[in-house]
Symmetry: C2
Subunit: 165 residues, 2 copies
């Protein structure tokens, strides 16, 4: 059978940091991630939604063991004037579905979200690309989420792919 979703993956090794009230002007994101790169901190997800009143917030995830170095880097950088909050959340797990066949099928994302909502799992953040949809959920929901997604998309739980997508 042809399956549009080839694999399901989860990663509970990350923490999420959000910087609020950043100036929504060219260069802000470059300075923030430039400072992290200079300190050799690998960033996984980056999510920036709509600016409101000339300010924006940027959320990103790093490995748990890099949290302190990340917060140090943010505090020590002098390029961005930080007037907002620095919010950390270490109760996150990234659950993803991956598949090249998802691209032209409306409804794959809806099916993923429905499968999670039927287990009463709240979606904390969402980020997508053409072949991958990732949701942040609470860590203790990760196992149930993976089981629900494998069932929804007809995958054996062993097909939990370590797919980069």
């Amino acid at each position: 059978i042809y399956k549009p979703v080839a694999g399901v993956a989860s990663d509970s090794s990350q923490v999420r940091i959000l910087l609020s009230n950043l100036p929504d002007i060219p260069g802000t994101a470059a300075k923030l991630f430039g400072a992290l790169a200079q300190n050799n901190i690998s960033v996984d997800m980056i999510i920036q939604s709509l600016a409101r009143n000339g300010e924006n917030s940027i959320a990103f995830t790093v490995a748990e063991e890099d949290l302190n170095a990340t917060l140090e880097t943010i505090k020590n950088q002098k390029d961005i004037i930080l007037t907002g909050e620095i919010l950390t959340d270490n109760d996150i797990a990234k659950v993803s579905i991956v598949g090249a066949g998802m691209v032209d099928r409306p409804g794959i994302a809806a099916s993923m979200f429905r499968a999670l909502s039927e287990k009463n799992i709240n979606i904390k953040m969402i980020s997508t690309s053409e072949i991958k949809i990732s949701c942040l959920v609470e860590k203790n929901n990760a196992k149930d989420a993976i089981k629900a997604l494998c069932k929804e998309f007809g995958l054996e739980s062993s097909e939990e792919a370590v797919v980069k997508g």
Copy 2:
């Protein structure tokens, strides 16, 4: 030469819709995208950042020609009580860099953001996966953005990949 970034792509055919003040409870995203899928509307990017005070906003992009059908679907659905705003932005272009080699290199995202900021291009939204980083910029910045990114990552402008990532 090994290039971590294999291609650069742009897409100016989309519009962005944002629904604000959505209840941050399981099922909200499932209902929204379920309604769109029932009306056969293909969604490209979905971006949801952090909830504040029990409410969240969800931004997503659809093809320009689906905008009216999308707004009709949102207005006609009865599953979600909409108390916030429905904000549309048709001045967007998605510019992306794609490459399997990006995964373990801190600094690729920073380089992308820096290349855009040097051309004074403001980043409206950001969404990433392991092998693809996408930014929404204003439509009239798309060409300059692609040129700057090709230069930054050592790609011929013809390597503007139509890569799904």
